[in-house]
Symmetry: C2
Subunit: 283 residues, 2 copies
């Protein structure tokens, strides 16, 4: 693997580029991005070695597609059209069914591997890229059987070099589960931020009274709308289901408060404390 | 200030004890706790120098009340009954109106200062105590004018030694604002944890797919029900109001999704991104 093309040199694409370059000095990383200033930034930060065009993709050993999930649906078929028979193409999006479906009948389906590295921060763009972002993180791979065996092997070696553990899942299951543990968290955080901002017109008061607890709960509300809007759109049915259940639980909590049933509120919280054990081991 | 009595040697009481001892080697810290094993733990961890009884409180220069807010309402009048005329008594609870009200007519009201240090973690008990927890954190002081001037001065020196900045506020305003930036965050986090646990019976799946985003948003769901149930109870009206607004915002978001109004979802998130600027400076 020598020529790596990163389409989308943001947080994920940029971090992958950095780790790939430091794991193997033979690798040349080329950046492609519709945002010219991001591309320049990535170049001056040393994240990529050079910029490139779509017409260069026939020289790629590996293409990583790290752009918002709506754009990825348009881009992936074009990328597959442009590559050689030996090229591995990986996407890293947070929804997996739409992208698997869009190329299900593509001639080069076997060159593509659908993945979702569970890693990131609330920041975006090349400046947000960090070393070792993927160390000890999970990478979920969907429809592995549809990727050529040799390219599966290359991809697994790559993820292993990045320090990732692998889980295999079908895209339907991925999209359903991820709605709970990722997409819903983002909505709950965004709406918490919105509720507080609406109420506290005097921002100085928020700042002064907010502690690390609020900061932690509202952290994801800093995330990029350009990235998250298409995720919610593509995973609409699952997200609405989780949101429904979340709203029901909040309403129930409110009803318990209104009826002064604080014993039940105590029990509810105590049962949920169990999340401690579940989360043990997450960095 | 030589004899300090900490009632409740948990996360907050224990952390205060540690910082007081290291800021002034003259200080002797005595612990009082209804939980005998916590008391023993605090002693063996060196957080307190000795255990004590309520009958010893007449020897106290400073008493810090760091117990759940329901217990504090019962305990504070008894503490004021037991102390000398020169003793400063501080509470650190997350609700301020009930505690201010309960001693408003007490003979020793001027010995008491109502405070809320905005500091903590999701853990509890003496083992959770940490050094420098209060450094650069805000301490909200209520009804400062009702405390004897000399004791105000002592308290301010103490908070300054701990590295805290001070904000003065009336207890009504405190309880209203803190419902938004602290109490609501806890409920949103607890209900997120509940929703995910209910859905994902196979805990292995949660663990494998949950990333740092979920971990951050659900962190407060590890908090102690014994501490939080009485806070919600005492701040019922304000908390219900915040919860109402939060539920409305979530419902609105769901309606936008159902009607495929993803432009408005984008706008909603973009406006909320503003939380970045607001939170700058929170550790």
């Amino acid at each position: 693997m020598k020529n790596v093309y990163i389409i989308g040199v943001g947080l994920i694409g940029g971090s992958l580029a950095m780790d790939l370059k430091s794991s193997n000095t033979q690798i040349q990383v080329f950046g492609i991005d519709s945002n010219a200033s991001h591309l320049e930034e990535a170049l001056s930060l040393g994240i990529i070695d050079a910029t490139a065009e779509h017409s260069d993709l026939d020289k790629a050993d590996l293409v990583i597609l790290a752009i918002p999930v709506d754009k990825a649906l348009v881009e992936l078929p074009k990328v597959l059209d442009a590559i050689s028979d030996e090229t591995l193409v990986i996407d890293v999006g947070s929804t997996k069914l739409p992208i698997c479906n869009v190329v299900s009948n593509h001639d080069k389906r076997r060159n593509f591997l659908a993945t979702h590295p569970i890693a990131g921060t609330e920041f975006s763009g090349p400046k947000a890229a960090i070393h070792n972002l993927f160390q000890n993180k999970t990478n979920i791979i969907c429809e592995v059987e549809k990727t050529a065996f040799k390219l599966q092997e290359e991809a697994l070696q790559l993820f292993s070099d990045l320090g990732m553990r692998i889980r295999y899942m079908n895209p339907e299951a991925h999209d359903k589960h991820i709605a709970y543990v990722s997409h819903l968290s983002h909505i709950s955080s965004f709406m918490l931020g919105k509720t507080v901002i609406e109420k506290e017109k005097n921002e100085r008061d928020i700042f002064d009274m907010a502690g690390s607890g609020f900061e932690s709960t509202v952290r994801l509300a800093k995330s990029s709308p350009a990235m998250w809007t298409p995720i919610f759109k593509q995973n609409k049915a699952n997200v609405i289901e989780t949101l429904d259940e979340y709203i029901q639980n909040l309403k129930h909590f409110k009803q318990l408060m209104e009826s002064d049933d604080f014993d039940e509120i105590y029990n509810d919280m105590e049962n949920t404390n169990h999340i401690k054990e579940i989360l043990k081991g997450i960095a």
